[in-house]
Every structure is written in C-alpha cells, then in structure tokens.
Symmetry: none
Subunit: 215 residues, 2 copies
DNA sequence: CTCGGCGCTGTGAACGCGCTGAGGACGCCG
DNA sequence: CGGCGTCCTCAGCGCGTTCACAGCGCCGAG
C-alpha cells in the first residue's frame, strides 16, 4: 500500500515495486490511505507525511490506536531530527527523507517485511483444562485455578503426556529434584491436592503402575 | 548491547542509554560482539560496521545464519546507498550513518524494540497505567508518576508483557546489566518500590515463579 | 471371607520465599 | 565540602509451601 499525493512519485513507486514482485495499491489522501490500511489486508504501507485531509502522523497514530499493526515506512521531505523522531514515536517503523534512493527504500522495505509477528507458544489443553505456560495460568472450564509451584510443575508434566501412564518414580525424577531421598508418598500427596482443585476424576490411579491424566 | 570500537562513542552511548533506563553492555570487537549477542539474551544490538576482527556485516550475517533474530541497528560512516542496502540485506533491521543525531538514534531504537513485539503501540497502556517511551513518562489514572531510571526500566519491561509471568532471573537479565553477580533480592526491592508508587495490587507475586502485571 | 499391601488424607512441623526498613556506597550539584 | 537522590546490600520476620508421618480405607489375591 502506497499513500502519496504527488502523482508522479506514486506512479514511479508503484511501477518499481511491481517490478520487484509486490502487489501495490495507491491512495492519494490521508483518509483514503487510512481506510485502505484498515480493510485491505496489506503486508506493509509506505506513507507520505504531507497528505491532504489527514497527515501521515495522524494516519499511523489512528491505525495503532485501532490495533492495526502492519509495518509502516514513513516518507517525508522534512529531515529535521525531531520530525523523524516524532514520526517513529507515532508508531511508524521506519522513516525515510526525500529525496531518497530507490535502492535504500527497497532494502528498508525488505527489512520491514522480514520481521513477522513472533508466534505465541501454544497453550496446553486437555478436556476443559487449559494450561498457558507463558502466563502460567491454569483454567478449568474457564474458571481460574490457583496452584502452588509444585502443583503447577506436576500438572504441567502430566498435561504434556495426556493419556499416558506415568509412574511415581518418573514423576519424582522430573518434578522433584534430587529424588533419591524423598519418599514416593509426596507424589500421592500432591496428586491429592490436584484432585481437590481440578476435580476428582481428572487424575486416574493405575494401581501398581502410576497415574494417568484423563483425556 | 553496543558493539563499537571507538571508545569515546561507545562510552557516550552507554551513558546516554543507561540514563534512558536501558541496561547496556559494551563490546569493542566483532568476535566479542558476536559472542555476546549469541549468549547474552539482549533485547537489541547497536552495531558498528567498521570493527576489528569481524565486520558488522559479517557479525549480523552469522547471527542470522544461526537463527538469532534480535533487532540490529547498524551504525556506519559509509553513507553510500549500496552500503546501506547491503547492511540491511545482510539482516540488519535499521541503518544509521555517522554522524547521527542522538534523538534519532533513540527514536529508531524504540521503533526497533516495538517491532519484535506481537503488538506495537507507541504508548503502552495496561488498565489505567500508561507509559510513553518517547516522553519517558508514566501516568496512573492521568496523574503523573515519577520513577527513577531503574524503576522505569522495570515497569517498561513488565508492561510489554502484561499478564505474563516473568521470573526474577529474566528481569535481572533484561533490566539489570551484567547481572551475574547481583542477587535476585534487588528485584524484590524494586517491585516493592513500584508497588508503593503504582498501587499495591498492580503487581502480583507468583510465589516460586515470578511476577505478573495485572491486566 | 480374610488378609496384605497399596494408595489416600489429615495433622503438624520445618523450611525457605518474598517483603520490608535501615543504612552504606556512589555520583551529582550547589 | 556537604546535601541529595539513586542504587543496592543486608538481616529479620511473617507466612505460605512443602513434606513426613501415621492411621485408615479400599482393592485384589488366595
């Protein structure tokens, strides 16, 4: 998406970028550009600062306020250091002053596109139990359950192996450190705690073998 | 992380960035910088091109080849358009030519740090807390809160990850520089300071795991 | 039916995590 | 040089967490 009111520059950019394999749409005014960015599903936007209707600063500010996070490369004839800083602090990702080198524009655009949003680590889910490792949050049927450190570590281990039978020794080894001296009874105790907090039948006892998380 | 062989510039950068609340380490040669970036867990790197041992181009190229994706702001005396394009195409995220304006460097660094995050608001807001990185100002329910550099850095880090549990070790790594020798107790102390200034229940303690900013 | 053993749970004690106030080291400014 | 603000260390304390223990219920084997 190119937003630029100077027709010749806009056309040149469009042609050049298309030659590089990008699909390019052009808007000539601030409001048009804002609208296109909102609904167009573009990968990035090249945005002039001096625009009829709405300045580039304002366009990017509104986009960010509306939770649109597409990469924005700002273009301006103003080369004052504070103009540049202002543009970036409004939410633009890069800032280029006119006149600019086409080669540089391309390289900066590529650098912007390279940075996709990092994917969030998946949450573990078994039945109506959910465990979010990043937020360290456990919910049961959308109700939050508060767990102590040990309880959490135990549930985490079990939820990564749903349906499998896991022996007390294995749990001691992985959830408790230096298991050599601790009695297997701790495991029974903590399974008891978890059952109380999560529901009686979530954790099955396999007599003589270990425990299993019901799927 | 600042990698710059000119000692005076490196020291000036470190001081300036520390005053902004960043935790800053410095390396003077290419290999040193590469190693630090590999193992240091830094949020971003400012990288000179002309370096003893290994050029900035080569440093960033190797980092990317090894799947390290930390944001890199490249610094160079060369202002040729192809130098700039080369730097960016090696994997740098931004490129600044010397002499540069300190204000612009800061704004670009902020933009860079924003880019990695899944959302990139220019102003961070959680509940009635607002933090403006450009103005370095924090308000709580529209009332200004004055924070020291360390307090600010800590809050900044937490507000970029609202709702997530963050361990004391992680905070030490990112908010304090060269943390190896400092005890985790500092974190507790500064969380205490923040609670006093922001309200008691904004920062939850997750015993045995870390802290969480209430959403 | 009886008996042995595995697993469950309530009690209570020790531990150690995290909070806080006091105070020292350091740098900055008048 | 003294005052001030920031940063950080340290020690004490409160309380949640962790775990040992013992008694009991339940399951399965003979």
């Amino acid at each position: 998406m190119v937003v630029e009111d100077e027709a010749r520059l806009a056309a040149a950019l469009q042609r050049g970028l298309q030659a590089e394999g990008f699909a390019v749409d052009v808007a000539a005014t601030g409001p048009e550009g804002l609208d296109a960015a909102r609904h167009g599903g573009y990968d990035a936007m090249i945005l002039d600062v001096m625009l009829p209707g709405l300045s580039g600063y304002e366009v990017v500010r509104r986009l960010r306020a509306e939770q649109h996070w597409l990469p924005v490369l700002m273009l301006s004839a103003k080369d004052g250091e504070y103009d540049q800083a202002d543009g970036l602090d409004c939410g633009a990702d890069d800032y280029l002053t006119k006149p600019f080198s086409y080669v540089v524009l391309l390289a900066r655009l590529r650098a912007l596109l390279r940075r996709g949003a990092p994917e969030r680590p998946a949450v573990l889910a078994v039945g109506d139990l959910r465990l979010d490792p990043a937020r360290r949050r456990v919910t049961r049927a959308d109700a939050e359950v508060t767990l102590t450190a040990r309880e959490y570590a135990l549930l985490d281990y079990l939820m990564r192996r749903p349906g499998q039978v896991i022996s007390k020794i294995e749990l001691l080894d992985h959830v408790w450190d230096a298991s050599l001296e601790t009695a297997p009874n701790v495991v029974e105790v903590y399974v008891g705690y978890l059952r109380r907090k999560l529901g009686r039948d979530r954790l099955e006892t396999i007599r003589g073998a270990g425990y299993r998380l019901a799927t």
